[in-house]
């Protein structure tokens, strides 16, 4: 056989043979097979299989179809279904209305999620080679404890190794993450965000230049490319090519290009790009710069040559990673490739260049939306069947007139699809209403559009499927009866178990949502009030600029409401950590450990009320002092092998190459968020440190507005270029748990929907049961049963059902929360009985009340009325 070892997928061939006219079949199959073999050669047989299967569907056209007559008939039948459905809906307006509103509310959730996913899918697709671009990124494995962490970043060294040792790379570029920097012309200074990028940047990415040469714009030192917007901000127009700007008051840069503004759907953002050679040149003397494990802020993107696969490059990178990591005693770093499209949405890598959307969030949102929609379709099914009394007769008559089972089936499906499509109209209205709130919730510094036009086909598809699902059960139910049975038995047919099961499932959903909200709220509340081991109360943090004068602190201190001030490099417990390596005893290489630190001043301990178990607070050092002091936490002291904290006082440790004297040991405090556990930590005091924040301790009950405006006035004395910023520490901590807050709001909304839907469903069911039992109750009453007993007899089974659903929901939620939602959470709140009972009680209460009211209406009726007509 040799050449012809590949044959087209058999099923697709069969499918074509099934629908195609025999006179066209032979040459059509021949043509397709010819194309298939050609595709096998050009694109590989898997790809060719796909094309073949797609073609099988594409050739499904009127002129290739075998049966022309059935088509005509089915059209008129569908038209008939349509008309009948409209009539039915019209004659039951209330029912139609309740169903459409219920479906619309839950569909709107689905629409939001779909639009969100489609929006995310569009990320980075504007690059003309988007499907060929890969990011090289590091996996960092701690050799001592084996802990593994995925990073989006990599080392600068890798970039030079890529040049020298890796074959098959067509284009490549390196970006070093930058910060906001000040850009000045003679007239003004403005802060701009941006990065350092090397000359390959415009080869790899498609950011069109409106001025300048993409080949040379970032080649060489002291060059900067501005976006259109920032050029206009700085120079007033985009005629800036060749002009000079001053960066951070020291470097003079030449504008070498003007680039179109970065699209909203790019995974990273910039106002300006400085040529990578500029920073490379300035940092060359730093011995760390070209090290294999200097990997925190650099990002490499490549395009492989044509015909070179991801794996070809990976194999070479593996060899390099192995060789380079062999020298290090602390870490094992492996480089891998990630396709550009998998950055957003993608995994949650550390140190992203730009923004990141976790796949997990998307899965969760989809599942939640699905649950709500399924719940609503159950309701539809239930209510349709509950109305069977009136419908069964209609069906019976139709069957007697000769309608087949299929036709009845189709009729009901058509009806529910129509209702779903009507709901879609409401849902789209709701979608527009909810969209801004939803964007506010999920966008994490993104510009999301959630445009309708991109997703409308999916919307209609969703409504269609929802309609099909909702109609399936009633369709099966109604179509299976024989006409005699239907017309004879006054609609007494009951399907109690199935309906109860569906209601039960709805209740499981509703309970689960409520429990989740309750647990999340509890955890959120717990996180905000968690005792971190130091005080964050009444502390205002003011970000300092490199240019902020030290007199600013002195003046702030003089304000009446200010108790004390301190300075620090970073703010702990809100998600950021600064790491360094520590050696002890000095000189012993193998003992270097990773330690987190914060650079602080001598007042920091007082302001934040850390508890010392040994030693004393820092003594104030003169501004020019070279001495470095540290207060370490208990954890670090034990890690160093010092069992008695008192012994740690006066010990010398080397932190990042600088000899440091330990002057105190503090009780352990939680310097990370509660998502992760804390470890060894050092508070380092060195007067020359680059402090980034002023921590201002305030008196209790200050007038915040007045105080902030006073501070603003002080700030303006020293700095007219930058806005005054200040954040209360407690608000910053709140910000760190925004994720929980977002979950809380989304699930809160969903649980509201789920509860309304299931209570509506329950009510419908109770109305149905009580009404169909009204005669039974009349007789019971005549025989001596009291109203109370009757209510009990109706309500009992529903209450049991609810308790059962609650138990299932409880187990389900417990698993979900502990295994998925909180799996990353290091410190969790204890789940008390109140957490488990709170929301659930509300649902049970509402449900029971509605059951009782309805049951009472029937049970209290005079038996003379209910039995009169028999």
């Amino acid at each position: 056989m040799g050449k012809n070892q590949f044959t087209p997928p058999k099923l697709a061939t069969k499918f074509i043979s099934w629908y195609c006219k025999p006179e066209l079949l032979e040459d059509l199959l021949g043509d397709l097979e010819e194309m298939y073999l050609r595709n096998v050669k050009a694109k590989g047989h898997r790809h060719a299989n796909w094309i073949y299967i797609l073609d099988a569907f594409k050739f499904l056209r009127w002129y290739t179809l075998k049966l022309k007559i059935t088509r005509m008939v089915s059209f008129s039948i569908i038209y008939n279904y349509f008309i009948t459905s409209l009539r039915v809906m019209k004659s039951n307006l209330t029912f139609t209305f309740i169903n459409s509103i219920g479906l619309a509310i839950s569909l709107s959730v689905g629409l939001l999620v779909i639009a969100y996913i489609i929006n995310l899918q569009s990320f980075d697709k504007f690059h003309s080679h988007y499907d060929e671009i890969y990011r090289l990124q590091n996996t960092y494995i701690d050799k001592r404890d084996g802990a593994q962490e995925l990073y989006a970043s990599t080392s600068i060294k890798l970039f030079s190794l890529l040049e020298d040792e890796v074959t098959g790379v067509d284009k490549k570029t390196i970006i070093r993450k930058g910060r906001i920097g000040d850009f000045s012309t003679e007239k003004k200074t403005i802060p701009l965000r941006g990065h350092y990028a090397d000359k390959g940047f415009f080869d790899v990415f498609t950011f069109p230049l409106i001025a300048g040469d993409p080949k040379t714009a970032l080649d060489g030192i002291n060059k900067v490319v501005l976006t259109e917007e920032s050029a206009i901000k700085l120079f007033g127009d985009t005629q800036a090519l060749g002009k000079e700007v001053v960066y951070n008051k020291e470097n003079v840069l030449t504008v070498s290009g003007i680039v179109k503004d970065v699209p909203d759907n790019s995974h990273f953002y910039f106002d300006q790009l400085i040529s990578f050679a500029t920073i490379d040149n300035a940092m060359k003397t730093n011995t760390n710069w070209n090290k294999w494990d200097y990997m925190w802020l650099n990002f490499i993107y490549i395009i492989p040559e044509e015909g070179v696969s991801e794996n070809d490059i990976k194999v070479q990178l593996d060899v390099i990673s192995k060789r380079e990591s062999a020298d290090s005693e602390s870490s094992d770093i492996a480089v891998s490739l990630l396709p550009l499209a998998k950055i957003i949405p993608g995994e949650n890598y550390s140190n992203q260049l730009g923004r990141n959307v976790d796949m997990m969030t998307i899965y969760m949102l989809s599942v939640l939306a699905l649950i709500v929609i399924v719940s609503a379709t159950f309701n539809y099914s239930n209510l349709s069947i509950a109305r069977s009394m009136s419908r069964l007769k209609e069906v019976g008559v139709r069957k007697t007139m000769g309608a087949s089972r299929n036709q009845i089936f189709n009729q009901f499906i058509m009806e529910s699809v129509l209702i779903a499509l009507i709901s879609l109209c409401f849902a789209i209205g709701l979608f527009f209403f909810l969209r801004p709130y939803f964007i506010g919730l999920v966008s994490n510094g993104y510009e999301l559009t959630l445009a309708l036009d991109a997703s409308i086909t999916f919307f209609i598809g969703l409504a269609f499927i929802t309609g099909l699902l909702g109609g399936l059960l009633p369709a099966v139910y109604f179509s299976k009866y024989s006409p005699q049975g239907l017309l004879k038995t006054e609609g007494g047919v009951q399907k109690g178990r199935m309906k109860k099961f569906l209601i039960g499932v709805q209740y499981v959903f509703a309970f689960s949502f409520v429990l989740m909200v309750s647990i999340l709220y509890h955890q959120y509340d717990f996180s905000l009030n968690y005792n971190l081991g130091y005080s964050t109360k009444n502390i205002l943090n003011i970000p300092l600029r490199a240019t902020t004068s030290s007199n600013f602190e002195t003046e702030i201190r003089r304000l009446a409401q200010v108790k004390n001030t301190s300075k620090s490099l970073m703010i702990t417990s809100i998600g950021d950590t600064y790491g360094s390596s520590l050696k002890y005893p000095p000189g012993l290489k193998s003992d270097s450990i990773n330690v987190h630190f914060n650079a602080v001043d001598d007042e920091y301990i007082n302001v934040h009320k850390h508890t010392l178990i040994a030693g004393a607070n820092f003594e104030e050092l003169p501004e020019t002092s070279e001495t470095q002091l540290a207060i370490i936490n208990e954890n670090l002291s034990t890690t160093l092998g010092i069992t008695n904290p008192q012994k740690a006082i006066g010990e010398e440790v080397i932190i990042d190459g600088v000899s440091t004297t330990v002057v105190g040991v503090a009780t352990d405090f939680h310097y990370k968020t509660l998502f992760s556990s804390s470890g060894p930590f050092a508070l380092i005091y060195q007067p020359g440190a680059p402090y980034e924040y002023l921590n201002v301790e305030l008196n209790e009950n200050v007038d915040k507005v007045a105080l902030l405006s006073e501070m603003d006035a002080v700030w303006k004395k020293f700095d007219q270029e930058h806005q005054f910023e200040a954040y209360f520490y407690d608000d910053q901590i709140k910000g760190a748990y925004k994720e929980l807050d977002v979950y809380l709001k989304i699930i809160g909304y969903l649980s509201f929907i789920a509860i309304s839907i299931s209570i509506m469903g329950l009510l419908g069911m109770v109305i149905y049961t009580t009404e169909s039992k009204s005669k039974e109750m009349g007789i019971r009453k005549v025989l001596g049963a009291s109203t109370g007993q009757l209510i009990q007899s109706i309500g009992k089974s529903y209450v049991l059902l609810m308790i059962l659903s609650y138990l299932v929901a409880g187990t389900l939620t417990y698993y979900l929360v502990s295994e998925l939602l909180f799996s990353e959470l290091a410190i969790r709140a204890k789940l008390t009985p109140t957490v488990w009972m709170g929301g659930a009680l509300v649902i049970i209460l509402i449900s029971v009340i509605s059951i009782i009211i309805q049951a009472y209406r029937v049970a209290a009726k005079n038996p003379a009325v209910t039995l009169k007509y028999d």
Binding site: T7, L29, G30, D31, E34, M35
Partner: protein, 109 residues
Amino acid sequence: MKGNTIGEFEELVLLTIASLTNDAYSVAICDHLSEYADRKVKLGVVHSSLNRLEEKGLIKSSLGEPTQERGGRRKRFYELTHAGIAAVRNAKEIRDRIWSLIPSFVLKG
């Protein structure tokens, strides 16, 4: 008017059939069009166009001999009918007529 006028793509298909003489079957027509008409042409589009042209009576078709390469399946070869030949001629004449009305300086350079 139906049956007399032909669309631009249909005209191209007719011309291609004429130029391929004895080898005009769907895949060849598709290739030929892709090559000479400077556009990506899908087989399905050609197929439905051929079907329409045959319905209009501008082309006729017949099955060829079975060959090894297509799993033993025969090809369907197309040729122009008299009506088809008239239709392309007509289309060309219309164009020529209009071209001749354009003053020479208008489309210069």
